[in-house]
C-alpha cells in the first residue's frame, strides 16, 4: 500500500451504519451469503444485502423464471425464500463469521406482515439494517403493489419504522411518475436512506409458441440496459432528499458506479453482474479507489453528488 493509498478514505455512513466502502451486493443477486463465499471474501464488501424475506417461507414462481435479453435479464423468481425465522436460523450464524453489515430485504403481502418481519429481524442479533421491498414486480400481492402509490408506500414505511430500531431503507420502484415524491415520503417517515432502482417491469414473448417466455407472464428487467434509466432516477431522488441514496441498476464496472455517485448516491449495489462475474463488487471497489487517486480525491464522501450540471 502506497502513502496515497493509506490516505484514501472509502468509508461512508448510511444512517448509523458505517460501511468500510460504498459497494454492496444487491438483494436477490448474492443469495444469503454462502453461495459466493468460496469466491468472494464477504468481509471486503461494503454491505451484504440478502434476498427478499417475508414472514413465512415462500415458493416463488413456476419456472421458467429468467430469460436473457440484449443487455440484461428479465426475471420473475417471485421472491422464493425461507421466511424470517428460517433466515435467522439458517443464515445468520454463517454471516456472523464475516466483518460485513447484513442488510435484510423484507416484504409482505399485508401491512401487518411487513411489521411482523421487521420485528422478527429486529430481535435477531446479526442484522444491521432492513431494506423494505415495495417494488418487486413479480409477486401478485405485496412488493410493487405498495410501492407505486405514495400513501400505501408511506403506510409500509411507517409500519416498519415502528417495529425496528435498525436503519430502514425503502427500495423504490422506477415505475412511478415522480421519484422525488417517494424519496420525500421516505424521509418524512423517518427512513434512514433510500435505495433504487428495482427492476423495470418487462415481458418477453416466444413468437413460435405465441406464449410469454416466463410462466409469470411478466418479469423485471435488470442489467446494463437499465443503467442510464437508473442514473436519471437516482439523480432526481438524491436532489429531493437529504437522507443517503443507495443506487443500483446495471452496474458492471467502476465507471457505472461512479456515475451513480456523482449523481448523488452515497453507496451503490452490484446486482445482475454478480451472476456473470461474482468478483465484480471487488473490481468496482478497486476501480473507485483508482478513480479517486486519478482525481486527487482522498475522501469518498467528497465525490457524492459532485456532478457538474451544464
Amino acid at each position: 500500500m502506497s502513502d496515497s493509498d493509506a490516505m484514501l478514505d472509502l468509508a461512508v455512513n448510511i444512517g448509523e451504519l458505517r460501511l468500510k466502502n460504498p459497494v454492496m451486493v444487491a438483494s436477490g443477486t448474492f443469495g444469503y451469503g454462502p453461495e459466493y463465499a468460496d469466491l468472494v471474501d464477504l468481509s471486503k464488501l461494503g454491505a451484504m444485502v440478502v434476498k427478499g424475506i417475508r414472514k413465512i417461507p415462500w415458493e416463488g414462481n413456476e419456472p421458467p423464471r429468467m430469460v436473457e435479453v440484449p443487455g440484461g435479464l428479465v426475471n420473475a423468481i417471485g421472491l422464493q425464500g425461507p421466511g424470517a425465522q428460517g433466515f435467522v436460523d439458517k443464515y445468520i450464524p454463517f454471516l456472523k463469521q464475516y466483518d460485513v453489515p447484513v442488510i435484510v430485504n423484507i416484504w409482505g403481502t399485508t401491512l401487518e406482515e411487513y411489521g411482523e418481519v421487521a420485528a422478527i429481524l429486529d430481535a435477531a442479533d446479526g442484522v444491521h439494517a432492513l431494506e423494505i421491498n415495495i417494488s418487486c414486480p413479480n409477486v401478485k400481492e405485496g412488493g410493487i403493489a405498495f410501492g407505486t402509490n405514495v400513501d400505501t408506500a408511506a403506510n409500509v414505511m411507517q409500519m416498519v419504522r415502528k417495529n425496528t430500531r435498525l436503519p430502514v431503507i425503502p427500495k423504490l420502484s422506477p415505475n412511478v411518475p415522480n421519484i422525488g415524491d417517494f424519496a420525500k415520503i421516505a424521509e418524512q417517515c423517518g427512513c434512514d436512506a433510500i435505495s433504487l432502482i428495482n427492476t423495470l417491469p418487462a415481458m418477453v414473448i416466444d413468437i413460435e409458441t405465441r406464449r410469454p417466455v416466463l410462466t409469470n407472464t411478466v418479469g423485471g428487467l435488470s442489467g446494463p440496459a437499465i443503467h442510464p434509466v437508473a442514473v436519471k432516477l437516482v439523480w432526481e431522488a438524491a436532489a429531493a432528499v437529504n437522507i443517503p441514496v443507495i443506487a443500483m441498476g446495471g452496474i458492471q464496472n467502476a465507471q457505472d458506479a461512479i456515475e451513480f455517485i456523482l449523481a448523488g448516491a452515497s453507496a451503490v449495489a452490484v446486482g445482475t453482474a454478480n451472476f456473470v462475474d461474482p468478483m465484480t463488487p471487488l473490481t468496482v471497489i478497486d476501480g473507485i479507489a483508482d478513480y479517486m487517486r486519478r482525481h486527487n480525491v482522498q475522501r469518498f464522501s467528497d465525490l457524492i453528488g459532485a456532478l457538474d450540471v451544464h
Binding site: E35, G60, P63, E68, N75, I77, Q80, F275
Partner: protein, 266 residues
C-alpha cells in the same frame, strides 16, 4: 474462476465439436457429472455464462463436447486455439460414487454422453452404454466406450444405426434379457423426456437411477434461483432445489416432474 486458454478446438463429427481448455486450477478437481460455466467470447449484448458438462479432465486440461444449436454455441465454434475463455467451475455435485457390486448402465441422449464418458473412464468396472440419437451422426463416443471395454447399445429414431427407436427401447430389450441376473445402477444424461422415461425404468426394475438434469441456468452457483426443480425430501415434503448447486444429478424417485406436479394439484 479462471481464465483458460484454448489448447485445441476441433470437430468431433458433423455438428459436434470438442473444446480443450487449459485449466490447471479447475481440471484436477473435476468429478464426473460436474459442469463448467463458460462465458462465450463474441457473444455481445448477452450477459450470462453457458453451462457445459465436462467430457474429459486431467491435471491440466478439461474438455467439453458440444453441439452447435443456438446463437451461443454457434459463436463458440469460432473460438480459436490460444484464445482466452473465462470459466467458473467445477460446479455442481457430480454423480455419486458408483456401487461396484452393481452393473453400471449408462443412458445417453446425444451429447449427454459427455459426462457419462468421464464417469465410465473412472469406474472400477465396465457395464453397458445405451446411446440414442435422432440419426447416426448423433451417436457419439461409441468407439471410446468400446475401447474401455464397455458393451455399447445404439438406438436411432430413424434406424440408421443400431435399433430403430428410442434409447429406452434398447434399455427395455436389455432388461428383458438381463434384469434380475445382476443388480444394476443407472446413470443418465439427456433431454428431460428421456430422463423421465429412464427414471420410470429405474423405479420399475428397482434400480437406483441417477439423472443429470439440464435446466436454463442464470448464475450456476445457487444464487439466482432460476434453475429450480421440485424435489421430494426424505420426510415426504416437496421443495425446490437448485439444479446448478444442489444437482445437477438427482435420483429418479426424488424428482417431481412438471406434469406429475400438476396432476397432484388437480
Amino acid at each position: 474462476m479462471a481464465v483458460s486458454l484454448v489448447r485445441s478446438h476441433s470437430e468431433k463429427q458433423a455438428g459436434y465439436r470438442e473444446l480443450v481448455l487449459e485449466a490447471p486450477t479447475i481440471a484436477p478437481l473435476v468429478r464426473p457429472g460436474q459442469f463448467v460455466h463458460l462465458r462465450i467470447p463474441r457473444l455481445e449484448h448477452r450477459l450470462l455464462r453457458r453451462p457445459f458438462s465436462i467430457f474429459m479432465a486431467d491435471q491440466d486440461t478439461l474438455t467439453i463436447l458440444y453441439k452447435s444449436v443456438g446463437t451461443g454455441t454457434q459463436l463458440l465454434t469460432q473460438v480459436e486455439q490460444g484464445e482466452a475463455v473465462s470459466l467458473l467451475g467445477p460446479l455442481g455435485n457430480g454423480f455419486p460414487e458408483p456401487n461396484n457390486d452393481h452393473i453400471p448402465l449408462l443412458i445417453a441422449g446425444g451429447y449427454g454422453v459427455a459426462p457419462l464418458y468421464l464417469l465410465a473412464s473412472r469406474m472400477a468396472r465396465t457395464g453397458v452404454l445405451f446411446v440414442g440419437g435422432r440419426t447416426r451422426t448423433d451417436i457419439l463416443c461409441d468407439d471410446e466406450f468400446e475401447a474401455l471395454g464397455w458393451d455399447v447399445q445404439i438406438a436411432t429414431e430413424d434406424g440408421s444405426r443400431g435399433i430403430q427407436g428410442l434409447v429406452t427401447s434398447a434399455l427395455d430389450a436389455w432388461a428383458a434379457n438381463n434384469a434380475g441376473a445382476e443388480p444394476a445402477e443407472l446413470f443418465a444424461c439427456g433431454p428431460d423426456g428421456m430422463l423421465r422415461a429412464v427414471g420410470e425404468r429405474a423405479i420399475t426394475h428397482n434400480w437406483k437411477g441417477w439423472l443429470s438434469l439440464d435446466k436454463h441456468m442464470g448464475c450456476g452457483m445457487g444464487a439466482c434461483l432460476a434453475c429450480v426443480q421440485r424435489i421430494r425430501q426424505p420426510d415426504g415434503s416437496i421443495e425446490w432445489e437448485r439444479v446448478c448447486k444442489d444437482g445437477p444429478i438427482f435420483e429418479a424417485r426424488e424428482i417431481v416432474w412438471e406434469q406429475e406436479n400438476e396432476d397432484n394439484h388437480e
